[in-house]
Each structure stands twice: as structure tokens, then as C-alpha cells.
Amino acid sequence: MVETLASEGVAEHQSAPRKKIGETLLRADNITLAFGGVKALTDISFEVREHEILAIIGPNGAGKTSMLNVINGFYHPQQGRIMYLGAERRAMRPHLAARQGIARTFQNVALFKGMSTLDNIMTGRVLKMKSNIFQQAIFWGANQREEIAHREVVEKIIDFLEIEAIRKTPVGRLPYGLQKRVELARALAMEPKLLLLDEPMAGMNVEEKEDMCRFILDVNDEFGTTIALIEHDMGVVMDISDRVVVLDYGRKLADGTPDEVRANQDVIDAYLGVSH
């Protein structure tokens, strides 16, 4: 009846259809950001396309985190503009960026240490909750149903990231690698269109890095979430990203697929080092 393993090669598995990279989701046009006389970013333009994984790399002080902060509205560039979902974005506060579907994690984990994993992730749902504090205090009827619906979403994320065992553990007691994962879970709870990850693998051991890579790819694949990430580990960057933007001293050096970037002479000199 059905075709069998014997008649079908494994080869097909490798050539499984790749995800579709869509239209431009966010575009940075000639961004210049200065703190007093120090120019953190100079005339930077690039775009983030729907469903892709974009890596921003560069040596220390290249302006990577500044760039992320500009994207989520924490810094306001002196020149240039951010186009998001086809419209120019006005100077805004981070919580407005969050409402528009931009979520992020931080270089130094920024969780509520005394709260459980579950509660931390629930905070990611706050923007989606309609009831106010008084209704929540009574916890009855529509409000109860809302809480249950949110909890369901959170449980799906817990299942997805395989952190069932630490659901009730206070986050402060968790090892660093798991804290990073909880932070990713909280960002996912916002059901973001664009997910910004600031060094998601910093300070992790090889196994934790592999896990994290898999989760990032899975998130991108299953939910179709667009991801922009900063990472130092070149192996990771080259493996998982669709495109790479290279910054150096606040300027953009290159922009392209991992292979293109790897072959770019400027990048080799500035970042990857001269091969011996």
C-alpha cells in the first residue's frame, strides 16, 4: 500500500523543504547613534526579513547591543529611521515596542530571581491580559478563564523548551544555562513577531549551547518567529543564521549569508582573524 523505508532513501530527509523567508519585517535606514561625542553607531542600514534568523556579530564595543537597543526602542538614534511592518516607527518606549510584537532577552539574565519559572514566564503574558488588578484579585468568571487560557500558552512553552522539571523552582536557584532558557521562554510567551536575543549562549558549556541552538532553530521553525541575535561563538553563528550583519567600531562591515561573510576580506581582518 504505502511506500516503504526500503524503497525510499534517507536522502529525502536532508532535502526537506526549507522555510520560506518572506518580506522585510524591519528595516534600519542610516542609523546614527551618539552618546555625547562618542559615536556608537554610524550610518548603519540593514533589514530583517520575515521568518529568518539574522545574526549581528562584531568585536567588543562594535555597537551590537546598541543596535538591539535601537530596534526595541530603548535608544533613540540621532539620525536615520526604523521601518517596522512597513511603517516608519516614531521614537518610542520599549513597552510600545513590546506591544508591537518585539520581545527580547538580555546579555545578563534579567529575570525576577525570587519568582518561580512559571511566574516569570507568566509575566511575559501581562501585555496580553485584559483584566485589571481588581478583577484579578477576585479571580472569578471571565478573569479566571483568561488566566487559564494564558496558563495554557505558558505550559505549551514549558513543554516546548523542556523545562517541566523546574516549573516551580525559584529562578535564582537555577544554573545559568537554565536561567537563559527561562528568559527565552518569557520572551516567547509574548508571542513575538520579532525576537531579539542578546548573546543567548554566553557563558554556556558546549552541551548547553547545543541545546540552545536547537531551541532557537525550533522556535524559528515551529512558530515562524523572526529572530535577530547577537552572538560571539562563530561556530554557532555560522551554523544557525540565515544572514549575518557584521559591525566594527559602529560601522557596518558586511551583510550577507554566512558563506559570503566568511569570504569577505574586511571581516576576516577585523573579526575572524587572519588564518595561519
Binding site: 500500500m1 504505502v2 511506500e3 516503504t4 523505508l5 526500503a6 525510499e8 534517507v10 529525502e12 530527509h13 526537506a16 523543504p17 496558563r151 495554557e152 505550559e155 505549551k156 514549558i158 513543554d159 516546548f160 523542556e162 517541566e164 522539571a165 516549573r167 516551580k168 525550533d218 521553525d221 515551529e222
Partner: protein, 657 residues
């Protein structure tokens, strides 16, 4: 004890038993699974429906009577249902260890000639895809969890839901199909093939018939009075015979509910939420739980610690006696009841043992301290002795007759005899049919009249309890004719926290001797408390006070051994404490930390010499490998110590003369 009502005997297969429970108790829970943080319950009625559809689905996938269906994954309801569904249409399920690597899996899949596989998730699918070239017989794969499977386009991969949906349609068109299929199943048919883990050579596929599993499970249910009100946790590998009997066989016979934990890391949480009444764990797990409790108590405030110590002392004194129904004074009873409120109750609640009625442990020797800890809390922890070839039960400790160092009396319907070489042999309803495609191994293990060689040496103590002492091939004879069971002696020594490792000698010698490794953590903390200064392991090991302590332990072991006429010859007359820890890097231990007896004997030949020549000290120079790979030598003068032994009982003396 509640009265046990077993299902009628003509229900001789699991699909028939399932239909029985679906009719008898359709609304009672059959299996639970924690998913998305909530316990999802399936009743017997629902399970029967799921299995009917799945069976028809497997049939439309091409599964035929006699086919083997490989099952790989953690304990999941759907994988248990797959077993029943396969059995319903006459196929034989072959559960595999879910953590085995692809290569190990390839052997079993190929050897079992499995044409179909039902697996949990992408991880297992990937492994099967990897091995499929070596296993051309494998034609269809069904997976339960769809996550990560979106880009797999192979036509031979099927989602569980799709297979069931297909089956639902089939059943609608052929309403009598399922009943006809299960009526064709007989008790003598093969029910399952379980592969032994293969620590000794290649894995062997043990075929158990429905009669084997159903009857053994029923005997266990009858003996322990299990009912449909019981509840157990299925967390040990499905490929292991214990899980198959405890979580599948007995559940289908008694109609009790089995719960599957959320993931392998959450077992202890889930256990606490669930509070099972029936629990099985290898000694290692009981040991881990106890260690966790003790460490957490060390961190508690001194008031709590004091109360804990006080009541644990009372429990130690009277808890076991109260559990065994032996006489205890009213004052003690009152204190124990108070302890129940203050300490034992809350502690059991934390561990998930509140409702526990029956707990088993088996597999290896359990430390008497650990064993008594649980029993003194009022947990009816019992030891059993079993094997895959017996469908688990060979002996079980009856209620009220529990000892730390026996494995109990023969299980219902099981006969046991001790062969001339001391090997334990058994015969009973659970004796396996044969090893799959391995007639030589079958005839080697099973005699024509149904006796099975266990490979373990043992004997019956005076109270009729079986004692397992060692693997039969390791058991030797001392020159006076007495048995020499090195592992039994070594285990007894290792139960003392001060002793980390012990190696006993005595085969074809005049008496027994031992090398001892002290435990640096335990002895070191003793030294700290008693102001004993030491600079290195070697210095601590040579400390006269330490030697005295170890001698005390050995004398205690000797007294225990002397109480058994059979083992009295194993008493240790002389010992020495090694100047270094036995180490896997030096080849003295295997990577799983088992002593390589022969290698140690060769390496320390001069020390063994000293043990038997009566020398006071022994000089040794050993080459050691440091962690960075450099080599060095350690020199030491070791003191050889004599230990007092109890006189040998008359019986053994006679044999010797």
C-alpha cells in the same frame, strides 16, 4: 486487607482483559499522564476505545499476525496502548530501551525482525532513520509527538493520530473485526519479546507468553492484595521486565491505575503529587532519596534537626516492629504516633510516600541502614528476587518477615532448588518460552523439565528465606571446603560508610583475606571531628586509629557471617588497608566502578603474599596515573592486621575433615 477478585481465568490475553475492565469499570481511571502541567486521565472505557482504533490502524498499515512491532520511548500511555493493540491483532510488541544509541537499537530491530516501529518522538525517529540501512526489514514507522517532524516527508512515517483515524474508519466498516481478532488470541501465544540488557555478551530476546505474564502478574496481585483502588507510577524503562509486569501486566489484571510522569527529570515531583500506593525502585533510587533528605536536614535549623533526630531514633527502635506487627510497649507507640504527626507524616508527604501500601526493591543488595530507614517510617518496603526469564517473580518477602539480607520466600506457584554447585534454579508459571532465534542459549538455560538456571549462587536460610550470595561463576571454595562468596562479603563491608571499596580473596586458600579502601569523605570527616591530623590519603589510611575502626567493622561482618553456617568460612582473618584508592584510570576498576578482581590480584600480588605468609608489614611500590596523564610511583609500608573470627560451626568442620 481487601478481598482480591481476580478476573476470570478464561481471559488469558491482555486485549481480553482490557475489554473486561472496559465493561466492569468503564469510568475508573486506567492510565494517567502529566502533560502541559496537568494530570490527564484516561478511563478503562476510553483506553479500550483507543486500543480498538489503534489495532485496526496498525492492521491497515500492514501489520499481520506474528509480526514484531518495535516500541521505543519513555513511558507514555500511547506506547502502552500500542502493546495491547499489537497483541490484539496477534503481533508481538518488542519494547526497546529508549536511551540506547542507534547502533544498539540496530541489533535488536534486526534480530527481532521488526517490520514496524512505534516511537515517541523525533529523537527516536532519527535513530531509526540512521539504522534503517542495516535493517531493511523495517518498513513503517509511527510517531507520537509531531514536534520537529514537519519537514520529514518520507512516506513511511506516520503520525499516531493518522493511524488511529484510519483504524476508526476501518472499525466503522468492520464492526466485528476487533472482537474476532482478540478471540483468536490464546494464552500460549507469545505476548512480548523483552531483550536482556546484554551486559554479558549480545542481548537475548526473551519470549514470554500471555500465560507467563498474566499468571505471574495475577499471582503477585493475589499475594499482595492489589485492587483497582491502587495506583502506581510507571517510570522505569518499558523494555525492562519489571515495568512490563508492574505497570502493564498487574495493572491489566487488577485494574489499577498507572501514571506516567511528565518527563524523566520530574519523576520525584510527579511522585509527590500523585502519592502512589504501589511503588518499585532499584536500591540506588532509595539511596538517593535518603541522601537528599539527610542533606536537607543538615541545612535545617537546629530545632528542626533536633526533633528530626529524636523521632528518627524512636522510629529506628520501634518503627519496624510496629510495621511487622510485633509487640511494642504503649509508651513507645505513643511516641511513634507523635512522631507520625511531627516528622514521619510530613516527610512521607514530601517524598510522595503518604499513601504507599507496598514498595519493592530488587536488582542488587540494599544497604540495611537504607532499608530500615524506609521501613521504620512505616513504608512496607520489601525485597524480591526475579529475572526476565521468570517474568520477574522468583521470590518475594512475605509481609512481616522482612530481613535486609534475604530475598524472601518463593513466589506463588514457583519452585526453587539449589543445584549441587550452589546455583539457584527455579520453575513456575512465569518461565519464559524460549530465547528468540537462539536455541543453544535456550537449552543452556532451561532444562527439558522446565527448570531455569539463574546463574546466581544462593542458599536457603533456616527460616526458609532464600539468600543470594553472588554470581555462581564467582563463587569459590576455601580449602576447608566452605563456600567463598567474594561479592557477598565485599557488599557487607561496603555497607559501612567508612569503607569505600573492598576486595576479598579466599578461593583455594586456607582462609579469607581482604584489601580495604577507606572512604576519604567519611573517614576524613571523622578525623576532623576527632582532631586527627593527616596530610594525605595514604597517611590517613595508615593511621592506627583508622585501622582499629576498620578492624571493628570487619569483626562485625565476621559475626554476621558466622551466624550463617554456609558462609562461616568467608570470615576475614587478615586484612590490610590499601595506600591508594582503586582507580579506573589505573585499570583497577571498570568505568562503571566495578572492581577488576583479577587485575588487582596481579598488581598487588606481593600484598596478597603478605596476607597469607603471616608477615606483619608489606612493602609496596605502585605506579599511578595522575589526572593529567603523568605517571608517578607511590611507595608504602602497609600494616597487615589480624582479625578475630568466630568459631566455625560444627557442620562445616565436619565437611572439612
Amino acid at each position: 486487607m481487601t478481598e482480591v477478585r481476580l478476573p476470570p481465568a478464561e481471559l488469558d490475553t491482555f486485549p481480553k482483559l482490557l475489554e473486561f475492565h472496559a465493561a466492569q469499570r468503564p469510568g475508573r481511571p486506567a492510565i494517567r499522564e502529566k502533560d502541559f502541567g496537568i494530570w490527564q486521565t484516561h478511563t478503562w472505557g476510553q483506553v479500550a476505545e483507543e486500543v480498538r482504533n489503534l489495532a485496526a490502524g496498525l492492521l491497515s498499515l500492514g501489520v499481520k499476525r506474528g509480526d514484531k512491532v518495535a516500541i521505543v520511548g519513555d513511558n507514555r500511555p500511547r506506547l502502552y496502548w500500542t502493546m495491547t493493540a499489537a497483541q490484539a491483532i496477534g503481533a508481538v510488541p518488542v519494547p526497546l530501551y529508549q536511551d540506547s544509541v542507534a547502533k544498539e537499537m540496530a541489533y535488536v530491530v534486526e534480530h527481532a525482525e521488526a517490520r514496524f516501529a512505534v516511537v515517541e518522538d523525533q529523537e527516536q525517529v532519527d535513530k531509526l532513520l540512521e539504522i534503517h540501512e542495516g535493517c531493511p526489514g523495517l518498513t513503517q514507522i509511527v510517531y507520537d509527538e509531531a514536534r520537529g517532524m514537519r519537514h520529514y516527508t518520507q512516506p513511511f512515517l506516520h503520525h499516531f493520530d493518522a493511524v488511529q483515524a484510519e483504524g476508526r474508519d476501518y472499525n466503522r466498516i468492520h464492526p466485528d473485526f476487533y472482537a474476532e481478532e482478540i478471540a483468536r488470541g490464546k494464552g500460549a501465544d507469545p505476548a512480548i519479546i523483552l531483550y536482556t540488557s546484554g551486559t554479558t555478551g549480545t542481548p537475548k530476546g526473551v519470549i514470554l507468553s500471555f500465560d507467563n505474564v498474566v499468571k505471574t502478574a495475577a499471582n503477585g496481585v493475589k499475594l499482595e492484595g492489589l485492587t483497582d483502588a491502587d495506583e502506581s507510577l510507571a517510570y522505569l524503562p518499558m523494555a525492562w521486565v519489571g515495568d512490563h509486569i508492574f505497570s502493564y501486566g498487574q495493572s491489566y489484571v487488577a485494574g489499577f491505575c498507572v501514571a506516567c510522569p511528565e518527563s524523566s527529570e520530574t519523576v520525584m515531583h510527579d511522585m509527590r503529587e500523585l502519592g502512589p500506593t504501589y511503588f518499585f525502585a532499584p536500591p540506588r533510587i532509595f539511596e538517593n532519596i535518603l541522601t537528599t533528605v539527610m542533606i536537607r536536614m543538615e541545612d535545617a535549623s537546629w530545632v528542626k534537626r533536633g526533633i528530626f533526630r529524636y523521632f528518627m531514633e524512636i522510629a529506628r527502635r520501634s518503627g519496624t516492629k510496629i510495621l511487622d506487627g510485633k509487640p511494642v510497649g504503649p509508651g513507645e507507640r505513643l511516641l511513634y504516633a507523635l512522631g507520625q504527626i511531627l516528622i514521619y507524616g510530613p516527610l512521607k508527604n514530601t517524598l510522595g510516600f503518604t499513601r504507599i501500601r507496598l514498595a519493592y526493591t530488587a536488582g542488587e543488595a540494599i544497604g540495611p541502614d537504607i532499608f530500615d530507614f524506609y521501613r521504620s517510617l512505616g513504608i512496607n518496603l520489601k525485597q524480591l528476587y526475579g529475572s526476565t526469564e521468570a517474568s520477574v517473580f522468583i521470590t518475594i518477602q512475605p509481609d512481616g518477615e522482612i530481613e535486609a539480607d534475604t530475598v524472601g520466600k518463593p513466589a506463588l506457584g514457583v519452585e526453587i532448588k539449589i543445584a549441587d554447585n550452589g546455583e539457584v534454579m527455579f520453575r513456575g508459571p512465569g518461565v519464559f518460552v524460549e530465547y528468540f532465534k537462539n536455541p543453544e542459549a535456550t537449552t543452556e538455560t532451561k532444562t527439558a523439565d522446565g527448570w531455569v538456571h539463574t546463574g546466581d549462587a544462593g542458599f536457603f536460610a533456616d527460616n526458609g528465606h532464600l539468600k543470594i550470595i553472588d554470581r555462581a561463576k564467582d563463587v569459590g571454595r576455601v580449602n576447608d571446603g566452605g563456600l567463598f562468596a567474594p561479592k557477598y562479603v565485599e557488599n557487607k563491608l561496603k555497607f559501612f560508610p567508612d569503607i569505600k571499596e573492598a576486595v576479598a580473596y579466599g578461593h583455594e586458600r586456607d582462609f579469607c583475606t581482604a584489601f580495604i579502601n577507606i572512604d576519604l569523605v567519611a573517614v576524613g570527616s571523622w578525623a576532623e571531628r576527632n582532631n586527627v591530623a593527616y596530610g594525605s590519603y595514604q597517611e590517613l589510611a595508615a593511621n592506627p586509629q583508622v585501622i582499629e575502626i576498620v578492624r571493628g567493622h570487619i569483626e562485625k561482618v565476621n559475626r554476621d557471617l558466622a551466624a550463617d553456617p554456609q558462609l562461616a568460612s568467608c570470615q576475614i582473618r587478615r586484612f590490610l588497608i590499601l595506600h591508594k584508592e582503586l582507580d579506573a584510570d589505573d585499570g583497577e576498576l571498570t568505568r562503571t566502578r566495578k572492581v577488576r578482581r583479577r587485575f588487582v590480584a596481579e598488581r598487588y600480588e606481593s600484598l596478597i603474599e603478605a596476607l597469607y605468609t603471616g608477615a606483619e608489614t608489606a612493602y609496596i611500590e605502585t605506579e599511578v596515573t595522575f589526572e593529567d596523564g603523568r605517571k608517578g610511583t607511590i611507595k608504602a609500608d602497609l600494616q597487615v592486621v589480624d582479625v578475630g573470627v568466630e568459631p566455625l560451626p560444627a557442620a562445616t568442620m565436619k565437611k572439612a575433615s
